[in-house]
Each structure stands twice: as C-alpha cells, then as structure tokens.
C-alpha cells in the first residue's frame, strides 16, 4: 500500500471513535465548566483532575480488554445474569485498583501543593473527593463496560473495538459528573 492509501484507511477507521470521544469530552467540559466555582473552593482539585480522568481510562480500558479476551477464549459466558464469578472478580479488582490510584493521586497532588508556592491542598478533603468519585464512576463504568462487551459479543461484534471508544467517552462524562457530585457531598459533609 502507498503512504496515501495507508493514511486514508487509517483516517476512515479512526474518525468515528475520535468524533464520539470528542462529543463526550465536550459534554464533560460543560459539566466541568458549570462547576467552576468548586475549583476555587478546594485547592489542588485542578491538579488531581487529569489523574482522576486518566485512571478511568487506564483501569476500565484494561477491564474491557480482559473481558474481551475472556469472551474470545470462551472463559467468560456472554450473559449478564450475575452467575459468572469471573466477571465479578474482574469488576471488583478494577474497582479496587481505581480506588487505590485515586487515593494515590490525592496524596501526590497534596505533595505537589506543598512543593509549589500557594496554599496547601487539604489532604483529607481531596482524598475523600477522589475516592468517592472513583467509587461512583467506577461502579457505573464497570457495569457499562462489561455490558457493552457482553452484548456486543452476543451480537457478533468484536468487543475489543467497541470497548475503547465507550470507555473514553463514558469515562470523561461520568468521571467529571461524579467528581462534581463528590465535591458537593464532601464539602456538605464537612459543613462547608
């Protein structure tokens, strides 16, 4: 194939996924922008934001890849009835690693504010927000990713190509939405 033919094929193949995730990203941006006021109230929230959004992709993208491989190998039954221990183990493991990564991000963000000029981030507030938003978005994303992979597989689609765009799009939207929810809940609980 010539360079141009390769480029044309690669462009056509990737455009739908890029367009879908761009729409998701814009929606996430609107939710984020609507909550601008919160970023002035919690120091370090903007520092932790990219890490929290990336964790959704890193953790649930991996979950999707594992479920897809399990389906291809016939090790996971393509049903959503809850009778599969393996699906439960995979979702619970993803949730655990997502929560650990979120808490770690809060600790690193606090350390960054200690090293940089400006106010120090409140570690407990930031960690509570990171873990709560990780839990809420993780439950939704875990179930969504498994459902998309299983239903896609049953309908003759390759779950590997479905999961990527779904994780990036839903990860941004739910990641930001539940972050905003978590900020409100944690600030209200602290009497702020």
């Amino acid at each position: 194939m010539s360079t141009l033919a390769v480029a044309r094929a690669a462009y056509r193949e990737a455009l739908p996924a890029i367009a879908l995730s761009a729409v998701g990203g814009l929606l996430a941006g609107v939710v984020l922008s609507g909550a601008r006021g919160q970023f002035g109230r919690v120091d370090g929230l903007l520092i932790v934001l990219p890490a929290l959004l990336a964790t959704r992709g890193n953790v649930y993208g991996t979950l999707g890849a594992r479920v897809a491989t399990g389906l291809h190998q016939g090790l996971i039954e393509p049903t959503l009835g809850g009778e599969s221990d393996r699906l439960g183990v995979l979702i619970a493991t993803a949730l655990a690693s997502g929560l650990l990564a979120s808490a770690f991000a809060a600790v690193l963000a606090t350390l960054a504010t200690v090293a940089l000029p400006g106010p120090q981030a409140p570690l407990t507030t930031l960690a509570a927000i990171a873990v709560l938003s990780g839990l809420l978005s993780g439950l939704v994303l875990g179930v969504l990713v498994v459902a998309v992979a299983v239903v896609g597989y049953r309908n003759g689609r390759d779950p590997d190509t479905l999961v990527g765009p779904v994780v990036t799009t839903a990860g941004d939207v739910f990641g930001v939405a539940f972050l905003v929810v978590a900020v409100r809940v944690v600030l209200a609980a602290e009497g702020g």
């Binding site: 194939m1 010539s2 360079t3 141009l4 033919a5 390769v6 480029a7 094929a9 690669a10 462009y11 990737a14 455009l15 996924a17 890029i18 367009a19 761009a22 729409v23 998701g24 990203g25 814009l26 996430a28 941006g29 609107v30 984020l32 922008s33 609507g34 601008r36 970023f39 370090g44 903007l46 520092i47 932790v48 934001l49 990219p50 890490a51 959004l53 990336a54 964790t55 890193n58 953790v59 491989t69 399990g70 190998q73 090790l75 393996r86 183990v89 995979l90 493991t93 655990a96 690693s97 650990l100 990564a101 770690f104 690193l108 960054a112 940089l116 990527g164 990036t168 941004d172 930001v176």
Partner: protein, 185 residues
C-alpha cells in the same frame, strides 16, 4: 500467557504501572493549576480542557494500537521511507486538523449556551486548532519513539506502549494548550 482470574495477581501486575501513570498525570495537573485563573475567567477555554486531554490521548492510543499491530504482523521497518509508518503519521495529523476546529467551535457554542464564553469564537477555534495540530505532531513523535524502543528492547508494544503513550499525550495536551493560550491571549 495464562489468563488470571484472582484479584491479587492482577493487582500485582497492574498497580505499579498505574502508580507511574498517575504520577505522570499529576504533572499535567500542575500545569493546569498554573493557568487556573485564565481558565476560570474564560469558560470556553475551561470547556476545552477535558476534550483536549481526551482527544490527545485517543489520537496517541489509536496510532499506538495500529503501529503495534503492524509490528506484530511484521509490516513495519522503522526506515524513513516506511509507508505504514508515514501513512499512519499523516492520518493522525489529518484527524487532528479535522477534529480540533470543530472541537473549538463546539466548545465556544457550549460555553455560550451555559452562561457565556468569555472569548470571541475565532479565538477559541484558533486556540483549539493550533494546539490540536501541534499536539498531533508531538503525538506522532512520542508514539513512534515509544514503539521503536519497545521493538529494540523486544517488549510487546501492546503491554507498555499504549498506556505510556496515552498518558504522556494527556500531559503534552495540557502543556500545548498552556503554550498556545499564553501566546494567543
């Protein structure tokens, strides 16, 4: 490699990389924080943040996945006249040039609908397009270098290159946005 179904081995295999990636992303958070006031004062730029981060990572992961498959199929040589390499690089830049002007326009419209953009539409489209195109060029460079390093070290690019490229491109996305915003405003 046998598939593992118990939590402990999965966590042992994935947590170290996840910790490194989280630390990389904190770097992009520090850059974001450094122009927080500019972002908060101009909602159309704030709307751009997740979509620029996300699209950058996606362009990188699509390119990395394609180069990785070409690598497994023996269709890539890393020579300067390699058509698979050049074609995929051209496609990545073309995708960015298509997507980012629309993303800029979309961000401006969304900001206007939700209470005011804070900037002229032309400025937002300009910022999105210039940062997106610059980012695509950086993405190609990072992905090709990472895939080449994996190839030389005889690592499977699927395991390492895609997560590394996705997260490094997130950081480059924020840095590029910062540079373009600083120059344009």
């Amino acid at each position: 490699m046998p598939t593992v179904w118990r939590p402990q081995p999965i966590l042992r295999a994935t947590l170290p990389l996840l910790a490194v990636l989280t630390a990389v992303e904190i770097g992009s958070g520090v850059v974001l924080e450094s122009f927080e006031e500019t972002l908060l004062a101009r909602p159309s730029l704030f709307v751009l943040v997740p979509v620029v981060i996300g699209t950058a990572g996606n362009l990188g992961s699509v390119l990395a996945a394609r180069l990785s498959s070409a690598f497994h199929l023996g269709r890539i040589s890393f020579a300067p006249d390699d058509e698979t390499l050049a074609g995929n690089a051209v496609a990545t830049v073309a995708l960015a040039v298509t997507a980012f002007p629309l993303i800029g326009a979309g961000a401006w419209v969304m900001a206007v609908l939700t209470g005011g953009a804070g900037l002229a539409p032309g400025t937002v489209v300009f910022v999105a397009t210039v940062s997106g195109t610059g980012l695509a060029v950086l993405t190609v460079a990072v992905t090709v270098v990472a895939t080449y390093v994996a190839y030389r070290l005889e690592l499977d690019p699927d395991d390492v290159v895609i997560p590394a490229v996705t997260n490094v491109c997130d950081v480059l996305g924020v840095v590029t946005l910062y540079v373009v915003v600083t120059l344009a405003l």
